[in-house]
Structures are given as C-alpha cells and as structure tokens.
Symmetry: C2
Subunit: 220 residues, 2 copies
C-alpha cells in the first residue's frame, strides 16, 4: 500500500505564493533559487520554507539549490494544478458570475464546465462562455459527467440543500462561498472561501490601529 | 492611556460564523443562547467559543447565557461592522465587478464608493451603481474623501504600484485580491483574500482522498 503523506493546511496555503514568486523569477531569467532566497523575498522563516518545499518531495542540490523550472513543476504537481478538474458552479448571481469570469482558477487546475440556477430567466443563458442549466437537473448532470467538485454561490438558506444534491450526484469536494456551515459525510472535502472572514480581519485590525493611534494622542 | 486588546486572528475569523448562526436563531424566535449551544451547532469546542465571545467584552448570565440580540450587537461591534467604512476598489475587471455587485459586504460595514481603472473604455461608466473613475486621480481622491480602505483587484504586475498610490493617498488598510505579496509601511494593515490559496487547499485535499481510495483498492 502506497503511503499518503497528508500536507498540513498552512503549508498548502503557502505553496501558491511560492509558485507565483518563482514564475516572476522565471520570467526575469533566473535559473536556480534557494529556499533562503524564497524566504527573504516573501518575508518568511527559511526553515519553514525549506520544510514546505520538502513536502513536495523535490530534492535540492548543494550550493545551487533548486532549478526554478523544476521547482515550479513540483509545486504545481503537489498542488494538483497540472491535473485539471471539471467543476459545476451553483448559483449564477453576482458572486457566481464573477467566479465564472475569473481566469486565474483555470491556471490552478479548475475548469468550470457549467453553472446551475433555479431562475427561469437565467436558465439557458451563457455567462462568460459557461452555460447556465436548470438546478433541478443538477444531481443527474453531476452523475452523468462524473463531476467531483461543486462550487456553491447560492444564498445562505439554500446552501445545505445544494450541497446535499451535489453529494447525491457524486461530488467529493465542495468550495463553499456561502456563509453557511455545511453538514456533509466525512469523506467529502469542504473548503470555505471565507470572503466575509477575510473582511472581518481587515476591519478589526484597522479598528485596532485606529484605537492605538487615539490612545497615543491621549497620552501626549 | 486606554489599553487596546488585540484579538487573535483565528478568533476574528470565527466571529462572523457566530453572527450568521445567531441571526438565523433570531429569525426563528430564539431569545437566549449559551456558548455550548453555539459550539454544538458549529461543531466547535465550547471552551473556544466561550473565550471567543469573552473577547468582545460581553458578559453572559448564569443559566440563561446570552440574549441573542445583545450578543449579535456585541459581536458586530467588536468586528467593527456597525461602523461603516468607505472604500475604493482599484481594477474594474471581472473580479472587481463581482465584488462591486456582492451585497454581503455592506452588511459587514464596507461601503465601496468608487472604482478606479486605467482603461479609457471603463472610465466614466457605472458598474453595479458604483462609478468608475480615472486611475491617475486615485491618490488625489483618496486624500480628498479621507478613504481608509483600498481593495486591490488589479493584475498581479501592477498590484505594488497600486498599493503605493493608495498609501500616498492616506489609505490605512488594503484588501488584496491579487496574488502579489505587497510591501507596505508597518502601520498599514494588509489582508490577503486568498481565493487561490483556498482553492489550493480544496484541490490538494481532494487529491489526498483520491490517493487514499486508490491505495485501499490496491490492498484489496
């Protein structure tokens, strides 16, 4: 039995930053790179970067470090970006349409082949080259096309039933843009896109810096 | 001098989930709630939830716990959602337009008052009720309107110069949707929206479950 090494989530989140940096370096003509160089450019600890890179299984050479091309390939392979997955998006509202129009996801191995909605005015239309189909056919289409990834951009109250339909259709991974906590069988991967949480961090930190400034002025 | 308690980032990221759950409970007519009930609904550790709620400064009552209304208010206040911040968005492409059209951010105290772009075909147009202005006027408008939050949705290569213009204009918090690591003075808050990182986690975990399934079949 092949052993599967589970990569820690914080590591996975850093790997795309490395790919992005290395791609820039490649375009600048840089041929080889060390984990220390990457660490300095991204203001990260160099031991952390070395361990992250080791997780991909690539082995660097003494002094020269890693060939940029090979390191990009190893990172992309580990992130499963070289292997394109077809996905369905459910909820063709403003957020859904945005995701359909964002070209960056294709680069990360995600190909959205159809969108679903329950609004008769939207069904049969095409948004950003992606056809919008009838929500009632979701489960059937998932099964027929062997879709493994569902992207949920429906309003919060219907997020759970959307997830249920996807799972009945055989979907194994859900990217959830709704703020709803979704209950799923243990073998389904759920990742929350967390836009609201990200905004919450921004707003709270801004408030904390404002409060700090005020208290500094008060002490003057 | 007033002491400012810095809320840990993982706590901040959980608070919006509490607000969401409590809002549902409120609509169902629930009047009071305990941290244990919240913990069970969201499948979190109840000590963790109690500590998160304590960070807002609200004090529960023995037996009854918290009044739902007051807890929502305390959470929103701590998240700085009751205090609406005006923001500029830079880069009126497909991702930018999506963010302009997403109504959920207003609920979190973010009001996008203008977008900026360098494309003459876009300047002067209105997207989702938000006017698109000339990028070369960004710094001047930031200063004149006392804008403190900038949302960056420009292509990666111009993200740094966009951030520089925002900071010269007096912006103190940047919500960065580009994959570029941005260099800023220490007093500027930068939050990465991390859509690509979120997708990376989803794809990698899906791959790990697939590998696990295959190895189980191999051992049969």
């Amino acid at each position: 039995m092949a052993s599967i090494k589970i990569t820690p989530e914080p590591t996975i989140r850093r790997l795309p930053k490395y790919v992005h940096l290395l791609t820039i370096l490649k375009h600048k003509g840089v041929k080889s790179v060390s984990s220390t160089m990457i660490a300095e450019s991204l203001e990260l600890d160099s031991t952390l970067v070395r361990k992250d890179i080791e997780a991909t299984g690539i082995v660097g050479r003494p002094k020269t470090g890693f060939l940029v091309d090979k390191l990009i390939m190893a990172l992309r392979e580990h992130l499963n970006w070289n292997n394109e997955d077809d996905a369905f998006l459910i909820g063709a509202g403003s957020l859904g349409a945005a995701i359909l129009g964002y070209k960056g996801f294709r680069e990360c191995g995600l190909n959205i082949v159809a969108a679903f909605d329950n609004n008769p005015a939207k069904i049969g239309t095409v948004i950003k080259n992606v056809p919008v189909l009838d929500y009632t056919k979701l489960e059937e289409h998932c099964r027929r096309m062997h879709i493994h990834i569902g992207i949920i951009t429906v309003p919060a109250p219907v997020a759970q039933q959307t997830a249920d339909a996807l799972i009945r259709g055989g979907v194994r991974a859900i990217w959830n843009f709704s703020p709803t906590q979704i209950a799923t069988p243990q073998w389904v991967v759920v990742e929350y896109a967390q836009l609201t949480m990200s905004l919450a961090v921004l707003k709270r930190k801004l408030r904390e810096t404002e409060l700090t400034d005020n208290s500094i002025q008060e002490t003057k």
